[in-house]
């Protein structure tokens, strides 16, 4: 499947995604999800599931709330509330939430200003900031920054 075919296939879920505002980076790997990928962790599947199966920092409440996600990324040094602009010397993470406020996704800003995302149980892509806005992920509701490492 070409990337163009992939984008066409996921159009219902990501109506703003195009081949012009995104690019593929790696095939699907089952070992991690978007929340882990944003934190640069490719060894775990992060989620505060009540079944206690996924990884979630022990210090943080195991609940699907924006506050819990902000605190989880805070443990990785993302402590500053920020915006989507590209700032030299800073690394940023965007947390997406649905209209009910529940977190759905996270993306990590790249050095060129685009964002890295893992799309559910799909491939990893890089994309412009608003390319994933829509019915599946909602939109980015919180952007956190830390000094570049």
């Amino acid at each position: 499947m070409t990337f163009q075919d992939f984008v066409r296939k996921v159009q219902p879920q990501f109506p703003q995604l195009t081949v012009a505002n995104s690019r593929p980076t790696s095939p699907y790997v089952e070992g991690y999800n978007c929340i882990a990928w944003a934190a640069n962790d490719t060894d775990h599947w992060w989620w505060p599931d009540p079944q206690n199966q996924s990884f979630w920092p022990a210090e943080i409440r195991r609940e699907v709330t924006l506050d819990a996600f902000v605190q989880a990324y805070g443990l990785k040094g993302y402590l500053e509330r920020s915006d989507a602009t590209l700032e030299p010397g800073k690394q940023k993470i965007a947390i997406y939430a649905a209209s009910d406020g529940r977190p759905t996704h996270a993306a990590r800003q790249l050095t060129d200003g685009w964002w890295a995302s893992k799309l559910g149980q799909q491939i990893d892509i890089e994309h412009e900031f608003s390319a994933l806005d829509g019915p599946t992920y909602g939109r980015a509701v919180e952007i956190l920054a830390r000094p570049a490492r």
Binding site: E30, G31, D43, H44, W45, Q51, Q53, F55, Q121
Partner: protein
């Protein structure tokens, strides 16, 4: 949680062999369902989120329970 996933959980223990078989052959993300249905947890805390280790633990559990054919 996706409604279809919830519906499968609602089917109860009779779907465990099918879930385990799919986990073994297709690596489906069935861990939440397995825990919810079985109310058991073979995944030790340090392995939470480590997909390969979770898969191995659940398949071993399935064998022990006689839910998976060798």
């Amino acid at each position: 949680m996706h409604p279809a996933y919830q519906a499968i959980i609602g089917m109860g223990a009779e779907v465990l062999p099918m879930i385990l078989d799919d986990l073994r052959h297709n690596s489906g993300h069935w861990y939440w369902a397995l825990k919810a249905i079985s109310n058991e947890d073979p995944v030790v805390p340090r392995d939470r989120g480590s997909i390969k280790k979770m898969k191995s633990a659940w398949l071993e559990w399935g064998h022990t329970k006689g839910l998976l054919r060798a």
